[in-house]
Symmetry: C2
Subunit: 167 residues, 2 copies
């Protein structure tokens, strides 16, 4: 084996390891490991768009799992399908606006917490202010976070627009 292709193989292995690490990170976040592997891999593979079959081969997971998890990532706004001239299959790639999807997901989580705290306050409607204090503080925090993260999302969108005007 010539030293060049040997280096290439090494790099390939390292990039697969990178995908695996994203799998582990996703797992810690309560998401399927395979989804994380796909998400990681699509950031480093060549070319940037891959068919389901290529993902199966590269990541060593089943067709079914790739199907389920690409759909999940699509629904989260992180991936999109693209057509490739002369190819029958669907190709997947990272959405250019994927990070907005991530932020939106986070905002949804915070929003659920805020709503839940609010419902709790409903139960304590007629209670004393002292009694409500803990819950009010919680609600206020999540409301704060929700507002600020929406603001952050707008910041990010602004940054992207001024940076790259093409997509």
């Amino acid at each position: 084996m010539n030293p060049n292709t040997e280096n290439e193989n090494l790099r390939h292995e390292s990039l697969l390891a990178y995908a695996e690490e994203w799998g582990l990170l996703f797992e810690r976040w309560g998401l399927p490991r395979t989804a994380g592997r796909i998400w990681g891999w699509l950031h480093v593979c060549e070319p940037p768009h891959q068919t389901a079959g290529q993902l199966v081969d590269a990541l060593g997971v089943s067709k079914g799992s790739v199907s389920t998890n690409t759909r999940l990532l699509e629904s989260l706004g992180l991936l999109e399908r693209v057509g490739v001239r002369g190819a029958r299959q669907s190709h997947y790639r990272v959405r250019p606006d994927a990070f907005e999807g991530i932020m939106r997901q986070r905002i949804v989580g915070v929003s659920q917490a805020r709503a839940l705290a609010e419902r709790g306050l409903g139960v304590l409607e007629s209670a004393s202010p002292e009694r409500k204090q803990r819950l009010t503080a919680k609600r206020d925090f999540y409301a704060f976070l929700e507002r600020e993260m929406e603001e952050l999302l707008r910041h990010w969108q602004g940054r992207r627009e001024e940076g790259t005007l093409v997509d």
Copy 2:
């Protein structure tokens, strides 16, 4: 049963349901359901501090589980133990600065993602800028989020200080 205690029971049930819902929310976030139940309950129970035994009775979970999960919540900076005069047991309550703990946890997660992207960039060190582009964008996003959330944390701390000067 007189109508007053009946109302009280209803309220009590509703508050337990509130704790259960926090359990479900925690689960969606990849955390133990019992930890969520405790976190929810300690915001609405009376008094605000509870012994392990009281939590066992109220939430219907085992002693062991309460022990494990109070420790988890403590380690996340959400709960603290307090001593109560004349009582032998440890009492748990929501930390006054619990929400800072929540934000710190989130920041840690983002920071891990940023670090991972950075390691990936290391592998692609000698690759072309086009090849690196996707990863660079990812790294930039998480770096942005990390910086901004730290800023947000400072905002929140400022708000708390000006609001309630006591603790």
